[in-house]
């Protein structure tokens, strides 16, 4: 048997009292693609951060070609041939492509690096202009630059952390070809993912983690989606589409809505669509095509320079400020729950009660009835199954992603909203928490609300939407009735530009 090329032997790691990794064994051989599967918080990223020298393990060690190595930073790891492509790219946007590669490869001539990079890029079929500013590259190109960067540094072990999370279906497929090519040329590739089909379709071995422990090491041949799901979540959760039973009349209609672009990005260039009561309108699209602007303009936090937003019974609400819209029945689940959904340093109770405070549920303008707020929060926590709350005085920022999202939803759905805007509501959540969030959105729809779901996750769009609009380059370029053809939607997403 071949020696294991890279091995993490019996590693444990704690953050404070939280045990992120518990005696985990993991290995990858040259020439194979090894998928590392697990929910959020299963310990995948922590394990890989140890493999690439960013974290030091509390117990256990890393072995390269059978020899124990100690690494204190990414430099050491690179010298051992380990390179990591992080989920959040470690690139300097203000630098040129070449500067980013040089930065990662100290002690070598820039000219030599440039020619090697061109060479490697050619072999992998990348078309990369070394003198371009990195910030002007698309996401997929930045990812290729990241891969190139670690290869130039001589990586034999390439770790990709959630590599397809930011890619469109087409881009993800291209990436899989690249990954296969890497393995074929003798590299060992570790692909961290929570997407089953990627592990099943593109790997040689699969390791499943749950709760900081290694649950199983297996191969795609022995597995199917259902078995894997059971391993990952410890129970079976399969969400199925549930189309709306009753679709009412149009509640919100956007006509030629325009938002100016900012800092080099395109804004909205005339958006038209309508959402009816009792339906979920899914807005699909590759990230950065106007999703943020659309969410902002709907909630009244963007500068709208043209068009109208008609809201049934209220007329054109284009000039209505955010507070007015909320009063009129708008609710929002913002994309970044820790930045825009919650005030992380304030308590759970304050975060929950802030809506009610404005509408006067907890006393007048001078008085804040804390007892009442705590009681209401306690009730809401129960009703919306927010777990991990040690007390209503706990800081909201300490909640895990899923529970933070449930708290946001509990607050937004406190009074039944008429229009719900949900922007990537299950991003970063595990299967179970995601399913709970989806259940809430369906419930809102079934009670007659108009739900607008903006998501870059096509699975989510297809699971929930009654109609699908495709956002591309700041325009709604296509619209589909559910059930729609996934391929057609995917094509529309990249049709313009």
């Amino acid at each position: 048997m071949m020696p294991n090329a890279l091995r993490l032997r019996n590693v444990s790691k704690s953050f404070g009292t939280f045990k992120a990794l518990d005696n985990v064994d993991f290995s990858v051989r040259a020439g194979e693609v090894h998928a590392l599967l697990g929910e959020n918080g299963a310990g995948k990223s922590t394990l890989m951060n140890i493999a690439c020298g960013l974290y030091a393990p509390d117990e256990g060690h890393v072995e390269v070609d059978g020899e124990a190595v100690s690494m204190s930073d990414a430099r050491d790891a690179a010298n051992k041939g380990i390179g990591m492509v992080h989920q959040h790219f470690k690139l300097v946007p203000a630098f040129t492509v070449l500067e980013n590669i040089v930065l990662f490869n100290p002690g070598r001539q820039a000219a030599e690096i440039a020619s090697q990079a061109q060479d490697l890029a050619g072999k992998m079929g990348f078309d990369l202009d070394l003198s371009r500013r990195t910030g002007s590259l698309g996401i997929a190109e930045q990812q290729r630059l990241e891969i190139l960067k670690v290869l130039v540094a001589g990586a034999r072990f390439v770790i990709l952390d959630e590599p397809t999370a930011v890619l469109s279906d087409q881009e993800a497929r291209a990436l899989m070809t690249i990954i296969r090519g890497l393995a074929a040329s003798g590299s060992a590739v570790i692909m961290v993912t929570h997407k089953l089909h990627e592990a099943l379709g593109h790997s040689d071995r699969i390791t499943v983690m749950r709760g900081g422990k290694r649950i199983a090491e297996t191969s795609p041949g022995e597995m199917d989606a259902a078995k894997l799901t059971t391993l990952i979540v410890g129970e079976q959760i399969v969400e199925t589409p549930a189309p709306s039973a009753v679709i009412g009349k149009t509640r919100v209609r956007l006509s030629s809505v325009r938002v100016p672009g900012r800092s080099g990005r395109k804004g909205l260039e005339g958006i038209d669509f309508r959402v009816r009561g009792g339906e979920i309108y899914g807005v699909a699209g590759v990230a950065g095509n106007g999703q943020n602007e659309l969410a902002d303009v709907l909630m009244g936090t963007a500068e709208q320079t043209g068009g109208s937003i008609e809201f049934e019974g209220h007329g054109d609400i284009s000039t209505l400020p955010p507070g007015g819209r909320r009063k009129a029945g708008f609710a929002a689940i913002p994309v970044d729950r820790y930045r825009h959904g919650l005030a992380g340093r304030r308590s759970v109770a304050e975060n929950y009660a802030v809506n009610g405070v404005l509408s006067g549920s907890y006393g007048g303008w001078l008085r804040f009835n804390r007892g009442q707020a705590r009681k209401q929060t306690q009730k809401a926590i129960q009703a919306f199954d927010v777990q991990g709350v040690r007390g209503t005085g706990m800081r909201a920022g300490l909640l895990s992603g899923g529970n933070a999202q449930k708290l946001v939803i509990a607050r937004e759905f406190e009074t039944m909203p008429e229009v719900v805007l949900a922007h990537s509501p299950s991003r970063g959540l595990d299967v179970r928490a995601g399913a709970a969030v989806h259940e809430r959105l369906r419930a809102a729809r079934d009670s007659g609300a108009a739900v607008i779901l903006i998501s870059e996750d096509l699975d989510e769009i297809f699971l929930l939407s009654d109609r699908i609009g495709v956002l591309s380059g700041g325009r709604m370029v296509a619209e589909f009735e559910a059930p729609a053809n996934r391929n057609d939607v995917g094509k529309a997403m990249i049709s313009h530009e």
């Binding site: 960013l54 930073d73 990414a74 470690k90 930065l103 990662f104």
Partner: protein
């Protein structure tokens, strides 16, 4: 009129140099992501050191070297507070200004250096002294250091995206400490120049807000060395005008006469703020700490 112009222009460099050197020093530390509001304090330390060395018999060049060291000593405190202890950069910078202000006044009066005129730095060529001629070279040095060396690349990476620099194996803390020390050496030199070459006497208010103006200059220059020197010349022109106008005997209140540099600062800040791309040049991680074992 010709005489007025001549007297004005010949004095511009001496007024421009402190702005230029301080702004360059600020750029070095800020391109590494360290928001440096302590310029006034580092200049005070340099100014006092310049006087101290001269009064104790040191030649002007030794005085300037002493000024750089004094700036760096103060810079070391600032680096310890910001890069090592990760104290808020704004607070650390402001605290250092007040600390330096009190400390320099105390040392000056304790050692009896106040109001002692010194001989100072003499012109060497075309009525200008050595530092004036060296300043463009220092600027060139900064440009080359930042853009052409690997050290500069690492420094800028730390200021733009410390997480990326960390992943590339660069020690963010060390890098920032070095950037602060380099920068404060130049800012200290700027202060030393004020006393050794310009005022040739110590008063507690010798720096007179020039450190703050230099901070504004950096924003105006969008963190670019050459533009900072151009801005410094502009402010030098304005400041050099003050004694000239006073010399004409015009009946203008003294305080109004001293106002133009500050008014110009305000104007420059407003102008910078109104340009839509104003924030685009700011180092992306300016004033932000980097802690690796933070889970994100």
């Amino acid at each position: 009129m010709t005489e007025f112009l001549f007297n004005w222009l010949v004095n511009v460099p001496a007024f421009a140099v402190p702005f230029a050197l301080a702004a360059l020093g600020l750029i070095l530390s800020e391109r590494a992501g360290v928001l440096n509001l302590g310029a006034e304090g580092f200049m005070l330390a340099g100014a006092l050191a310049g006087i101290g060395v001269t009064i104790n018999g040191g030649p002007p060049l030794a005085a300037l070297a002493g000024a750089m060291l004094a700036g760096m000593a103060m810079g070391l405190v600032f680096a310890f507070l910001t890069a090592s202890l990760r104290i808020n950069h704004v607070i650390a910078g402001l605290a250092l200004v007040f600390f330096a202000d009190a400390l320099t006044r105390y040392i000056a009066s304790y050692a009896g250096w106040t109001n002692q005129a010194i001989k100072g730095l003499e012109p060497i060529f075309l009525g200008q002294d050595l530092v004036v001629w060296a300043t463009p070279l220092i600027c060139l040095g900064c440009v080359l250091l930042l853009n052409r060396t690997r050290f500069g690349l690492a420094l800028r990476a730390v200021g733009e995206n410390p997480a990326a620099a960390d992943a590339a194996g660069i020690d963010v803390t060390t890098m920032r400490i070095l950037a602060i020390l380099l920068g404060t050496a130049l800012i200290g030199l700027a202060g030393g120049y004020l006393t050794v070459a310009v005022s040739k006497i110590w008063t507690g208010s010798v720096v007179g807000g020039r450190g703050w103006i230099a901070i504004a200059l950096v924003i105006f220059a969008r963190w670019h060395p050459w533009r900072a020197v151009l801005g410094a010349i502009l402010f030098g022109c304005i400041e050099a005008l003050i004694p000239r106008i006073a010399a004409t005997g015009a009946d203008v209140p003294r305080y109004f006469l001293q106002m133009p540099p500050y008014l110009a600062t305000l104007a420059v800040m407003i102008w910078s703020a109104t340009r839509s791309s104003g924030g685009g040049a700011q180092p992306a991680a300016l004033g932000l700490h980097h802690i690796r074992e933070d889970r994100d």
